[in-house]
């Protein structure tokens, strides 16, 4: 399949079989650790599982959004990376599994699911029409069905284009992306409210959906950047990628880092300033126990360090610095989710042990395994996408 007017140099190569082995090993280690931690303390393990699930969902949502944005705006710089995104975004299929421990321990994680708690709490009684177990499960299922639908459609269109270079696929993806955006906003918000905000059922913040979206966009970008750079460095993607394509990734990471900080600051500042007890109580364990150190680290890890790291123009193009920035951003997002959720489990202060590592390891292992399996004998760039040549020869 050679294109006539361009000079794409791409040969399909399989990822080393080692990758699958590594993935499976990590997966097994993760499974063992997760199992052990579940046996020791099911509620604690469920909380950890919830964080890992929301992190995996973040990556999936972020990647889905990037794909949608590319179709919607007709961007070309990200086209050569799209196929990687389409495989990596399959993490959306995996993450619901991590919800299982939570479903088994609903009362422990979500106190609103416990009728005994509801009976005593006048405010929670008012929330029952929304916060009830049945509706919760329905929303969860609906969210994943909708996200899977859009993701699968994008992927299908893109893969079909490999064998049949027709512009109709581009068009249909474009329409699909426009249709997706409202659904994306609604279900991202629902997931954020249900799985993060309702862990402290009395607390509320209208910006919370945007907050989770900003973090998700970051996590998705971080994961995509990391994988793309690793693959491209070893020549699995088309020749001539880099430079301004990387720059765009870096610029996006930089911009969204700022956006997240803006949202996080707005949320904190408004609650701090107005000082209403029904809102500030959420910050009290985070500011008046040993959690405060984690709180202090959040702006540092998620804003200041990445900000300075990718501020300069050359650093946005340098694969090494981008790799570090991507890892930092993903770590920052996990840190953020941990900080959002864990004080609900343990108000008294910060804690950490191998239990907290089990589920992230499980998630990483599952993702690598999945990625290694689905990319087998597949193109890693959308070889016949009409925008691909422009994407590869992309110059600002």
């Amino acid at each position: 399949m050679s294109q006539q007017e361009n000079n794409i140099v791409y040969t399909q190569k399989n990822l080393p079989s080692k990758l699958l082995t590594i993935g499976v090993v990590i997966l097994i280690v993760g499974l063992v650790l997760a199992g052990a931690s579940y046996l020791i303390d099911p509620v604690r393990a469920s909380f950890n599982s919830l964080i890992s699930m929301m992190f995996g969902l973040s990556v999936g949502l972020g990647i889905l959004f990037i794909i949608g944005l590319e179709h919607l705006t007709g961007a070309v710089w990200s086209v050569p990376f799209r196929r990687v995104a389409e495989y990596l975004g399959g993490i959306l299929y995996i993450v619901p599994i991590l919800a299982i421990p939570v479903f088994l321990n609903m009362h422990g994680v979500f106190s609103w699911s416990d009728p005994a708690v509801i009976a005593k709490d006048h405010v929670l009684q008012g929330k029952v029409p929304y916060l009830n177990t049945g509706f919760f499960y329905i929303r969860f299922a609906l969210a994943f069905i909708v996200l899977w639908f859009f993701f699968t459609m994008f992927k299908r269109n893109s893969i079909k284009m490999d064998s049949n270079p027709s512009e109709s696929y581009v068009k249909s993806s474009k329409i699909l992306s426009a249709v997706m955006m409202p659904f994306f906003a609604i279900f991202t918000t629902i997931m954020a409210v249900d799985w993060l905000m309702s862990v402290v059922p009395r607390w509320f913040s209208t910006i919370f959906g945007v907050y989770y979206f900003a973090g998700s966009f970051l996590a998705g970008l971080g994961a995509l950047t990391l994988v793309v750079i690793m693959l491209n460095k070893r020549g699995y993607l088309a020749k001539g990628l880099g430079g301004d394509n990387y720059y765009s990734l870096g610029a996006f990471m930089f911009a969204i880092t700022n956006f997240w900080s803006y949202i996080a600051f707005s949320q904190y500042m408004l609650i701090w300033y107005a000082n209403l007890p029904e809102e500030t109580f959420w910050f009290i364990p985070r500011l008046h126990t040993s959690w405060v150190w984690m709180t202090a680290g959040l702006p540092l890890i998620k804003f200041i360090i990445p900000y300075i790291f990718i501020l300069s123009q050359p650093s946005k193009k340098d694969p090494k610095r981008l790799t570090i920035a991507a890892i930092m951003i993903m770590f920052g997002h996990y840190y953020d989710l941990f900080w959002l959720v864990m004080p609900a489990y343990h108000k008294e202060g910060f804690f950490f042990s191998w239990n907290e590592l089990a589920f992230p390891i499980l998630l990483i292992g599952a993702t690598i395994t999945y990625f290694a399996i689905v990319t087998k004998n597949k193109n890693l760039i959308p070889v016949n996408d009409p925008k691909l040549p422009q994407g590869i020869n992309f110059h600002l």
Partner: protein
């Protein structure tokens, strides 16, 4: 529907030569104004005169001339301030954010939008200055070592506004002026009248189109765009803080910052679109301000309109979810209470009408998009009205609840603000190049070297 996926629509229709661009863009500044222009100017300056009269009377007798009452202490004055600041945002968005995103279609409208930013901020700035009641003492808003050895309250969002708006104005003006410098140089070299030549020479700073300068100039443009982007977000964010740091239900909600920014961009684009539709017709700029550009603007309006809709929905949901009776009351009151009419004007204009932009046909039909643009502006004005007035009129103390009705002076000043804005826009069109000559030249077909060979 035909989408040519390989080529983004050309920024400039046809293939004008560089010289034709010069001719074309500078033409409005070099010919005498025609009848249409004079009629337009007459209308806008009459409105301005009306507004100025109302303002002078207000200054003379005090702001008791307005309909503000207790508890509605903030009304048209602040509504108009927020509205006009919001209008300004589209300009910076087009000139800075789209520049960072390398959206070439912005070139045709960037200068114009920047100009509108400056005029909108000027118009907006008048309102808080009047609102303080004794405008001649507005200098006290700035921290300077004064006779009372007092400092301004740096923790007050109202002071943040002073900093935000003045910074925004300054940076926008610099951005605008720096974009104009090369064009002044081009106009200087075209000028035949000595007087014009002197003026243009002064403003062009002796620009020589040197590539040793262009290099830094482009860097500067990038840096300023990089600064202007967070700045524009910060300005409306800070405006939203004016409300959100309080504890008034309906004002205190954490989504306000991004919601206000989206709303500002929304109304700003509607305003830019409305004005551009006239400008391209009157001055024959159809091939520079193309239909594609207008369509893109309509798409952005659709997107930001939905963001605003999301915020409305989220506010309602959380008001219920919060379990706070005050919050619940305020939102039910908004939709079904004393200002329900304003609320439903807002929702229909901001959320429902923009949905027509899903249709490509409507996006590309000028009369229809114009009408929707007007609706959006009306809707966004009412959004601020609903937020400010309906929340205040039903505050914590039922005994002091009151209904606000604007007086003649309120409405006169509102009309006058439109008069001021459009008068400035009209004067701008006639005196300065409304499209950036250098930038347009740089993006037309064949203007950049073909990078033959050379794998960068």
């Amino acid at each position: 529907m035909s989408v040519d996926v390989l080529h983004e629509p050309s920024v400039i229709e046809g293939r004008p030569t560089f010289h034709e661009i010069n001719e074309h863009i500078t033409k409005p500044t070099e010919v005498r104004p025609d009848r249409k222009y004079m009629i337009a100017l007459a209308i806008t300056s009459s409105l301005l005169a009306l507004g100025a009269t109302c303002m002078i009377i207000t200054h003379w007798y005090g702001i008791g001339m307005w309909g503000n009452n207790n508890p509605v202490g903030w009304a048209f004055d602040i509504v108009n301030f927020v509205f006009w600041i919001g209008i300004g945002h589209a300009g910076t968005l087009i000139s800075a954010i789209l520049f960072l995103f390398r959206q070439k279609w912005r070139t045709g409208i960037a200068r114009f939008a920047e100009g509108m930013t400056i005029f909108a901020v000027m118009t907006a700035g008048i309102f808080p200055l009047m609102h303080v009641g004794r405008p001649w003492l507005d200098g006290w808003l700035f921290p300077y070592p004064n006779q009372n050895k007092l400092w301004v309250n740096f923790t007050s969002p109202l002071l943040w506004d002073v900093f935000a708006v003045s910074t925004y104005f300054t940076v926008s003006a610099i951005f605008w002026y720096m974009g104009l410098v090369p064009d002044f140089a081009s106009m200087r070299d075209r000028a035949t009248v000595k007087f014009k030549k002197v003026i243009y020479s002064i403003f062009s700073l002796g620009w020589r189109h040197s590539n040793r300068h262009w290099q830094h100039y482009e860097m500067m443009y990038l840096i300023l765009a990089g600064f202007a982007t967070p700045l524009v977000l910060s300005v409306h964010t800070i405006v939203s803080f004016d409300f959100a740091v309080s504890i008034l239900p309906g004002w205190h909600t954490t989504i306000f910052p991004p919601y206000f920014v989206a709303g500002a961009v929304f109304s700003g684009f509607a305003m830019v679109q409305n004005v551009l539709i006239f400008v391209r017709k009157i001055f024959n700029f159809e091939h520079i301000i193309t239909l594609d550009t207008l369509e893109k603007m309509n798409k952005i309006m659709l997107a930001t309109g939905m963001m605003v809709g999301y915020a409305y929905g989220m506010e309602f949901f959380i008001a219920w979810y919060s379990g706070s009776p005050m919050e619940m009351f305020v939102f039910v009151n908004r939709a079904f209470g004393n200002y329900a009419w304003a609320y439903w004007i807002m929702v229909s204009c901001n959320v429902i009408f923009p949905q027509f932009f899903w249709s490509r046909k409507i996006r590309r039909t000028i009369p229809l998009m114009f009408i929707i643009g007007v609706f959006v502006n009306v809707g966004m004005w009412f959004e601020r009205f609903v937020i400010i007035v309906s929340s205040l009129s039903r505050d914590f103390l039922p005994s002091s609840w009151a209904y606000y009705t604007p007086t003649f002076y309120d409405i006169g000043i509102l009309l006058g603000s439109f008069g001021l804005f459009f008068t400035l826009v009209l004067l701008f069109i006639k005196t300065l190049p409304v499209v950036s000559i250098a930038e347009v030249k740089a993006v037309i077909h064949g203007s950049q070297p073909t990078h033959k060979g050379g794998n960068h």
